[in-house]
Structures are given as C-alpha cells and as structure tokens.
C-alpha cells in the first residue's frame, strides 16, 4: 500500500533543479509525479519515480540532501467532486492531510493523487471503508 516518495532539499537555485533531473536521466529514472514545495528561501522537491531506492542513492552520491518518505497513492474519480469525496472521508475521521499532489498519468479514466498523512495505517482503513481505491506501490511506480 505504501509508496516511497523521494524528497530533495533545494536552495532556490534553478541550476540545481536541472542537475537533479540530469542525475535521474543518467540512470534512466522516470518521474511519475512531482511537486515543488517552495518557501521564501528554500524548496523541497517531492517526487514519485519508477525505482525509488536507485534514485535515492544516485541523488545522495551527487551530494543532494534527500529523504525517503512513505505516502499513499489513491485513485480519484475524474469528475467534479471526485477529490472532495476522498478528502471528506479523511476529514470526517480527523486525519490530517499534510500535502497532496497529482500524478501526470491517469489510470483507466481515473486520476491518481499522492497523499501524505501522518497516520498512514489509520488512513488506509478509513479510505478503504469509504470505498476509495488505494494503489499498490508496484502499480504506482509504473503508472
């Protein structure tokens, strides 16, 4: 159920972002989902890639401050109110969503979203009870 997300600390320098994507390209690693959390003086790039361990090692080797975080990937019906339904289930149960972002590709007409929560175990049962499809890691890396 749990998906490995790579987070990378970036000073606000455009050149570093390019170096990062180059590092992934050299290893033929493919970015499946991506989000840049930008504060006034630094950024954190979060991404889902097809081979997370390999990406983590490659980035470390290039001197990036990188971390692996576990997140959930869920299927969201591609219609108005689709995402709201997912979030309502979590909200009703008092699960706090720290951040979320969307996948580039769709899966069989549905959108896919990365959700970062503190209480992963509880979220899984809450979402399952609400009938939300949680995507298995293997499927996500190759989406």
């Amino acid at each position: 159920m749990r998906v490995k997300q790579i987070s990378v600390f970036l000073e606000n320098k455009a050149g570093r972002l390019w170096e990062l994507t180059e590092t992934l390209r050299e290893k033929e690693l493919n970015i499946r989902a991506l989000s840049l959390a930008d504060t006034s003086d630094f950024g954190i790039l979060r991404m889902i890639v097809n081979r997370p361990e390999e990406a983590f090692d490659a980035l470390k080797e290039k001197g990036f401050a990188a971390a692996v975080t576990e997140v959930l990937a869920v299927e969201v019906p591609d219609r108005p109110g689709g995402l709201a339904g997912v979030l309502k289930a979590l909200n009703d149960d008092g699960v706090n969503v720290e951040y979320m972002y969307a996948f580039v590709e769709k899966k069989a007409g549905n959108a896919a979203v990365v959700i970062r929560v503190e209480e992963v175990e509880r979220s899984v049962s809450v979402l399952a009870a609400a009938g939300v499809t949680i995507l298995p890691a293997d499927e996500v890396y190759n989406l």
């Binding site: 987070s7 600390f9 000073e11 504060t39 979060r46 001197g63 401050a65």
Partner: protein, 433 residues
C-alpha cells in the same frame, strides 16, 4: 609531566621577575639600534636606565601593527642586515605587509620554545609529525617544523590542502601528531567519513591547533571526531609565530613563555592596563629577540590572563585564556559587538547543521542585517518543510541568546558553502561604511 628544559620551565616567580628585568633592559638597549625605536624612545627620553623595576615598562609607548607597516621594510631592524638569516612577512590585504627579521640566535630561541610546547603536548622522539599548516612567509608551518625536528620526531612537511593525500599519509606513515587549523580539521574529518574510514584506521594521538580562533565547542567536537586530545598553540608572526603560549592540559589556558615574552592585557579603547582575570587586548614585549625587538606590541587578540600562576604541571608561567576574537575581527552589528567565534560556538551545538558557515552583513533601509548561512546535513533531512522551519527557529533562537541580535538563517545544501582550508574566511560584509 615531561619538560624540554626543566630548569627554565619550572622557574619560580621571583627568579623569573629578576630574569625578565635583566632581559627587558637588554631589549631596550638593542631596540635603540633600530631607526624606529631610536626616534620613538628618544622622543620620550626612554633608555635602559628608565627601567628600575618591571612596572617601568608602563612608561613605554605601545607599538602597533600600523607602526610595523610604516616601518616597512627595515626601520625596525636592530642588527646589521648581513646578520639576518630569515625574514617572515604577513600577507596584509590592506596597506603594506609587516616584516619580521631573525638572526641565527633568534631562530635557535624560537625552535627551543616550540620544542618546549611539543614536549608539553606529550611529543617524543619517534613520533610522526604531519605538519598540515602552510609553509612559506606564513610562520605557522615552518615554526613548528623546526621545533618538531629538534624534539626528534619524523616530520612530514606536507603543508595544507590535498586532503586525500593527507589521509593517505596518516595511514602510510602512521602519523601520530598533526598540526592543523581547526577549520581544516573539520573538513578533513568530513572527507575521512566520506572515504568510509574512521579514526581507528589511524594512529593519531594528538591534534595541535593553531592560527585561528575557535570555540571550546569546536574543540570538543573535533576531539570526539578524531578520538584524540586537541591542544591549543598560540602565536603571532610579530612574536616569531607559533610557540608563544601552549596548553599543558592540566588547567585551563595556555602557559605563556614569560622568560621570552612579557605579557600584558589592556583595555583596547583606553590603553589602560587591566588586572589578571579581565578580558582585553594582549600586549607582548620580546625579551630575547635580537634582530627585531618589539616593545609593548599590541597583538589585537582579545583574551584574559588567569589569576593563579601556579599549575599542577609544575610550571609557574601565567596562563592565557583562549582567544575570544580579534579587535579587527569584531563585527559591530546594530551597535552590538559580535565575534564570529560566538556564532561558531552556537552552531557547533546544533547537530542538524554542518560545520561550515558564512556570515553575511548588509544594510537594508539603513539598518544592519545579519544573515547566517548554514548547511543542513543529509543525515538529518527527513523531507518535511515544518522540520526545516523549526530548525531555522532553533538556530535563530540560539544565536539571539548568545549575540543578542536577531539574525536571518539561510539553510543551504550540504557542500554549498566553500569548505574552509587553512585560515577560514567566514564573514562577507557588504555594508557600505
């Protein structure tokens, strides 16, 4: 406790005072041979006869760094040029550099003082001494070099830089004692870790630090990283170089070789003499130097003398505290005196940040702004914005407690700041004065 020269190192205070008085008179007599002191002492009607007790030294004017600059190249030389066997010069970025001359006896005396320091650090014949300090006009490398040879150690005159080779030499030659700047020692330790090595792979037993002020926290950190003792060596090129004062490790502070130097502490603003225990600018008078005697030389280093003169190591020479800063390192930010060493001290206590840092000063709407750049370490980053915000707050708070002004903290990627090799340059002041 081992001594290099037991008789002189364990001399009593009274006997020492008599020796100092005798040598001070000789120093003044020799100084009068230089054009500079002939004029300055002549203008003030001062001669060896002016000295009846050591207190009479107070009647002599200070010699400042600017006086040395203005004396460039030879106005302080007190012997025939042909008698001089070596010179050293500072790399002054502003104005002219300062030159110090030595005759053969001066070098012999200096080597003896350094040998005393090294034996005090536990060095002995058979030790392998890797001298990781720059050689050349700078006195740091060459000064300890000759003292180490005199003690009978095998000296590796490798100088600073080329870190991989340094570490290779630790292994290949079984280095036991290194002489290094604290900032370079931090860098070398990073490289040792990156190479997958640990202190267990070496035979190091003592680190000797010199050439730049640093905090007690940095020393502790380095002692843990290398798992050895680290001892402070103090010196300044105007007083020969390294070997003016050194730690015995029994008590706090560094013993000043008072048979060779008279040490005073003054208020840097008023020039008034301060009692032992008070912090101020250190002033030195050479007692044995022949080619270039200096009387009441203002070091610009800030420290204090300990009140007690006796020490469990058996020496009675006064102990000097660590150097808390330099009068010319002192930053004035929003009217508050700040020393980079204070900031370093606080940062070393925060494990989430690396060992390099940079201080930026600029002025926004006529107000000083101070920014401190630190590197996060790859090991403590977990991917959360909140955690980094908290870290910034934590650093900001720690600095405010120490230096009493608010700083902006900039978090940088590991390796983003220039690694410090040799004398670290940590401050960038963009304020227009």
């Amino acid at each position: 406790m081992n001594y290099w020269d037991r008789n002189i190192e364990t001399i009593g205070r009274e006997e020492l005072a008599a020796l100092q008085l005798q040598r001070l008179k000789e120093t003044v007599a020799r100084a009068l041979n230089s054009p500079y002191y002939r004029k300055v002492l002549g203008d003030n009607n001062l001669s060896p006869d002016s000295i009846r007790s050591l207190d009479d030294l107070r009647r002599f004017p200070f010699t400042a760094k600017d006086d040395l600059r203005a004396s460039y190249p030879r106005a302080l030389l007190a012997v025939d040029r042909e008698e001089v066997v070596r010179m050293h010069a500072s790399s002054g970025t502003t104005g002219q550099s300062t030159v110090v001359y030595h005759n053969l006896q001066d070098l012999e005396n200096w080597t003896g003082l350094v040998a005393r320091c090294l034996v005090m650090a536990g060095a002995t014949r058979g030790d392998v001494f890797q001298n990781m300090m720059s050689y050349g006009l700078f006195t740091g490398g060459i000064g300890l070099h000759y003292g180490a040879e005199r003690v009978g150690m095998m000296v590796i005159p490798i100088g600073g830089g080329n870190t991989h080779r340094q570490i290779q030499f630790f292994q290949d030659f079984g280095t036991t004692i290194i002489h290094i700047t604290p900032s370079y020692a931090l860098h070398v330790s990073d490289v040792i870790r990156d190479l997958g090595l640990s202190p267990d792979d070496f035979r190091l037993r003592v680190l000797i630090f010199g050439a730049e002020p640093y905090s007690e926290a940095t020393r502790e950190k380095l002692e843990q990283l290398y798992r050895v003792r680290a001892l402070n060596c103090y010196g300044l090129s105007e007083m020969n170089g390294p070997g003016v004062a050194f730690e015995c490790g029994m008590n706090e502070g560094m013993h000043v070789w008072e048979d060779s130097y008279i040490v005073e502490v003054i208020d840097p603003e008023s020039g008034d003499l301060l009692p032992p225990g008070d912090e101020g600018e250190i002033v030195f008078t050479t007692l044995t130097r022949e080619a270039m005697p200096l009387i009441r030389y203002r070091s610009r280093d800030l420290a204090r003398l300990y009140e007690r003169t006796d020490c469990s190591c058996g020496r009675n020479f006064r102990r000097l505290s660590r150097i808390i800063g330099r009068t010319d390192d002192m930053l004035i930010v929003r009217g508050v005196n700040v020393f980079p060493s204070q900031i370093e001290h606080e940062l070393m206590r925060i494990p989430e940040v690396g060992t390099n840092y940079q201080i930026l000063l600029d002025r926004v709407e006529n107000l000083d702004r101070m920014t401190v750049r630190v590197e996060i370490t790859g090991r403590t980053f977990h991917g959360e914005v909140g955690e980094l915000r908290l870290l910034k707050k934590k650093i900001e708070h720690a600095l405010k407690e120490e230096i009493l002004i608010t700083t902006e903290i900039e978090l940088m990627e590991p390796g983003a700041l220039p690694p410090s090799q040799g004398k670290a340059k940590r401050v960038i002041d963009n304020r227009e004065m």
